[in-house]
């Protein structure tokens, strides 16, 4: 599973990464977490609103820091 976090590096984006990593550890799940900070790349992937999260290329969240509950749902749902 590949989790991509889009953000230019503001506090919100860091929080998003932290939440996701915490949930991964808690659920003992393994995933590749990638942070995408380059604006050009962010735009080319169709993200208009940071922070955004994509799981295996599918946008699951845009414009907000996900809650732990949301992350758990993404991880346990059909990815």
């Amino acid at each position: 599973m590949k989790i991509e976090i889009f953000g230019t590096g503001c506090p919100k984006c860091h929080t998003a990464e932290k939440v996701i990593r915490e949930v991964l550890t808690e659920m003992r799940q393994d995933a590749e977490v990638v942070k995408i900070t380059d604006i050009q790349q962010i735009v080319e992937r169709g993200v208009m609103w940071t922070p955004a999260v994509m799981i295996d290329g599918r946008k699951v969240c845009e414009g907000k820091v996900p809650t732990a509950a949301m992350v758990k749902e993404w991880l346990s749902g059909p990815a």
């Binding site: 503001c10 962010i42 208009m48 414009g63």
Partner: protein
């Protein structure tokens, strides 16, 4: 727009709210009850503050300390109550306007109408300053005219609900209304001017090559989610800004009782005509969120600064910032950034003089 902007940043994406939705009638009843409680609390603040200052604490009404403590005990909960209500309502309104929706509203507009709409939508569309560049590209590539895009980017940080509530609470509705009105006017006029100047060539080339991706269809939200979005906005924004407000009002309260009224009059008073441009110029390299700056404004005004000068300073701090220029440099050529700052700065100058003239 600074990386620390507390601002409009909640969104509408995939709320995982489960469970039975409350029945509408019951929800309305609950809502009304809470509103009534809010009103009762708001109305009882003044007598409570007096009681706490002069009965609970052994202070006398005529002393400096007494009036300072009463000021603090009244103003802080008052501003907090107002802020909670307004942020909650804004959170609900914002759940109707995602950036994608705003963009599709604006994409079909002619310039003049577009500028007005963009400035108004800037107030209600949630967006955090880090999103300025992706939003800018998203708008421009979807066919929103450059000037209209700028109207949006200017009004979003400039007209800020926290600043609005603080101005209303501490200076009254006239000042708050003038602030919101002139902020929107600057955004409209500046965006329109930039549109007239035909600056499209001053946008970095790769922006227009960027692929405008089709939006994924958004699930429409239901009322329980919208209310939840409002609650979330309150936790987020009020939870973050209250220490600034407390500190600011405490400073204000100290000044209220002690420092002479005309302390700042010579430097920032009405007679010092040059103080408005100086205030704007000083505000550009500084950046802070609205909650941090309004109490400073209060302190300046309490010491005799002219209202227009102080407001121009505030607008410059929250509306124009160097970090923002650096972020925008990735998509705009230097000339357009200079024009952007020049036009908005000029607008703020006009507002400063206007306030000084009226009050």
């Amino acid at each position: 727009m600074s990386p620390e902007t507390v601002g409009p940043a909640r969104c509408a994406c995939g709320h995982a709210e489960k469970g039975a939705a409350p029945r509408p009638a019951r929800a309305w009843l609950q809502g009304s009850a809470i509103l009534l409680l809010w009103l009762a609390a708001y109305l009882s603040l003044a007598p409570l503050a007096r009681w706490a200052a002069y009965r609970l604490l052994p202070l006398a009404p005529q002393t400096h300390l007494g009036s300072s403590v009463e000021f603090l005990l009244y103003e802080f909960p008052k501003v907090l109550l107002l802020l909670t209500l307004i942020v909650f309502i804004m959170g609900i309104i914002r759940s109707f306007f995602t950036p994608q929706r705003t963009r599709s509203i604006l994409a079909g507009q002619r310039e003049s109408v577009g500028n007005v709409l963009a400035a108004l939508l800037g107030i209600v569309t949630p967006f955090c300053s880090c999103s300025a560049v992706p939003l800018f590209i998203g708008f421009v590539t979807a066919g929103v005219p450059l000037g209209v895009t700028f109207s949006f980017l200017i009004s979003a940080p400039m007209v800020n609900e926290v600043a609005l509530v603080l101005l209303f609470g501490l200076f009254g509705w006239k000042v708050a209304a003038l602030y919101a009105g002139t902020g929107v006017a600057i955004a409209i006029a500046a965006g329109w001017t930039i549109g007239r100047l035909k600056m499209e060539g001053q946008v970095e080339d790769w922006v227009y090559k960027a692929r405008a991706t089709a939006d994924a269809p958004e699930g429409s939200q239901q009322w329980p989610q919208r209310v939840a979005a409002g609650r979330e906005a309150v936790c987020d924004i009020v939870g973050m800004v209250w220490p600034y407000i407390l500190a600011g009002i405490a400073v204000g309260a100290g000044i209220h009782g002690y420092v002479p009224q005309d302390f700042m009059a010579a430097l920032m008073g009405k007679d010092a005509w040059w103080s408005v441009p100086v205030a704007v110029a000083l505000g550009i390299p500084m950046y802070s969120n609205a909650a941090g700056i309004v109490p400073v404004i209060l302190a300046l005004i309490e010491k005799g600064a002219a209202l227009g000068t102080a407001l121009a300073f505030m607008m410059s701090v929250i509306g124009l910032s160097l970090p923002e220029a650096i972020i925008l440099r990735k998509v705009l050529k230097p000339k357009l950034i200079a024009v952007f700052f020049g036009v908005v700065g000029a607008g703020i100058l006009v507002v400063g003089y206007l306030f000084n003239f009226i009050f």
